[in-house]
Symmetry: C3
Subunit: 141 residues, 3 copies
C-alpha cells in the first residue's frame, strides 16, 4: 500500500460554520495523479467534524440550528469551567457534537474520481470557530 | 491495492425503514472470491445511513422511534420549503439523521469472511422512503 | 494488501464508562513493527463505541451525562422487554447511542505512528457495562 498525504487550511468566521470542501479534496487528488484506491479526509482538530451530505444552503442552516438546539453551547458542561478559567471559548458542546457527526471521511477512488453520489459533497463543520483549521487528505493506493 | 465494486438495490416501503443487509453484502464477497482486505459498504444517497448494530425486531423499532422523536420530520426546517414548493417529500430531518448515524460501513475481510461480532449485522436505514436505493460494496485487497 | 489483527481486552466497572485506549493501540502498532498503512480499531460488541476526541476528565463526564440525558436508559424501549424477561441488563439505549457515536476508528499510519491530532485520543465508550470487552486492532499495509 502506498500513502500520500496532502493538507490544506480552511478559515472560518463564525462559531459554528458548515462549508463544502469537495473541490479542495478533488484538487488534491488531481495533484496526486492517483488512480484507484481510498481517499481518507481527516482533521487533527477534535471540534471539527467532516462528513458527506447534500450541500444546500438552507439545509446547512438547518444542521447548524439542530445541533445548536440539541447540544447547546455553554449548557453547564463541566469541561467549560477550564475554558472560563483560562478565558478561552467554551467548547464542550463542540466535542459532544463531533463524537456524533462522522469523522474521518472515506471515499473509494476509481479512475482518479471520488465515488460520491450525485448530491453528495464532502462537508467541513467547525463547531468551535472562528479559526484556521487543517484538513488532511491521504490517498492510499 | 486492487478494488472491485459491486452494487445491489434495496427497495423500501415506508418513510423510515431499517433493514438487515448482511446477507447481501456476504453474497457480494462470495461472488468476488476475495480473501483478505477491507470491505467498504456505501450508498450514494444522503438520506440513507449504513451502520453496524444488532438486528433485533424490537430494537429496530426503538431506533426508528428514537430518531422520529428527536429529529422529527417536517419540524419547520428551512430546507423543506424547497420540497413543499416542488411537491416532493420533505426530508431535512433525514439529512440531519444521516449526519449522525454512521456511513459508510467498513469491515476487515479475513479468509473471505467479514470480521463482525456475533450479534453484529450490517444495517440499512432509509430515512426518506419509500424508494429504490443503491448500495455499493467495494472490496479492497 | 497485508493484514495483521491483534486484540486486547478492556474491563469496565460502571454501566457507562469512557476510557482512553491510545496507549494500548500504540502498543499493538509497536509490536507489529508496521510502518505505513491504515490502523483499524474495532470491537465486536454493538453496545461499545470507539471514536477519537479529546481525553479530558471533565469532558468525559460531560459526554457520559449528555447521552444519559438524551438517550436515557430504560426509557420504555421495546427491546428492553426481552432483557426484563431474561433478567439481563436493559441496553436498548446503548444500541441507540452506538448507532450515533463513531465506530470503528480509522487512522493513517506513517513511519510507525498513528496520525492523530495533538489533543486527539482513541476513546472507548462502554454503554452497557460493567463487562470485559474485546478491542481489535487491524493494521493494513
Amino acid at each position: 500500500m502506498e500513502l500520500d498525504t496532502y493538507s490544506f487550511e480552511v478559515s472560518t468566521d463564525d462559531r459554528a460554520e458548515l462549508r463544502r470542501i469537495t473541490d479542495r479534496v478533488e484538487g488534491v487528488i488531481d495533484e496526486s495523479d492517483a488512480s484507484d484506491g481510498l481517499v481518507f479526509v481527516s482533521t487533527p482538530h477534535t471540534t471539527v467534524a467532516l462528513f458527506t451530505n447534500e450541500y444546500e444552503k438552507r439545509l446547512t442552516q438547518d444542521i447548524i440550528d439542530f445541533f445548536a438546539a440539541y447540544v447547546p453551547p455553554e449548557d453547564g458542561y463541566l469541561h467549560d469551567r477550564h475554558h472560563v478559567a483560562t478565558e478561552t471559548q467554551p467548547n464542550a458542546h463542540a466535542h459532544i457534537i463531533t463524537s456524533m457527526v462522522h469523522t474521518p471521511v472515506l471515499a473509494v477512488l476509481e479512475d482518479g474520481t471520488m465515488q460520491l453520489g450525485r448530491w453528495e459533497d464532502v462537508l467541513f463543520f467547525d463547531l468551535d470557530g472562528p479559526s484556521t483549521r487543517t484538513v488532511r487528505v491521504t490517498i492510499l493506493e
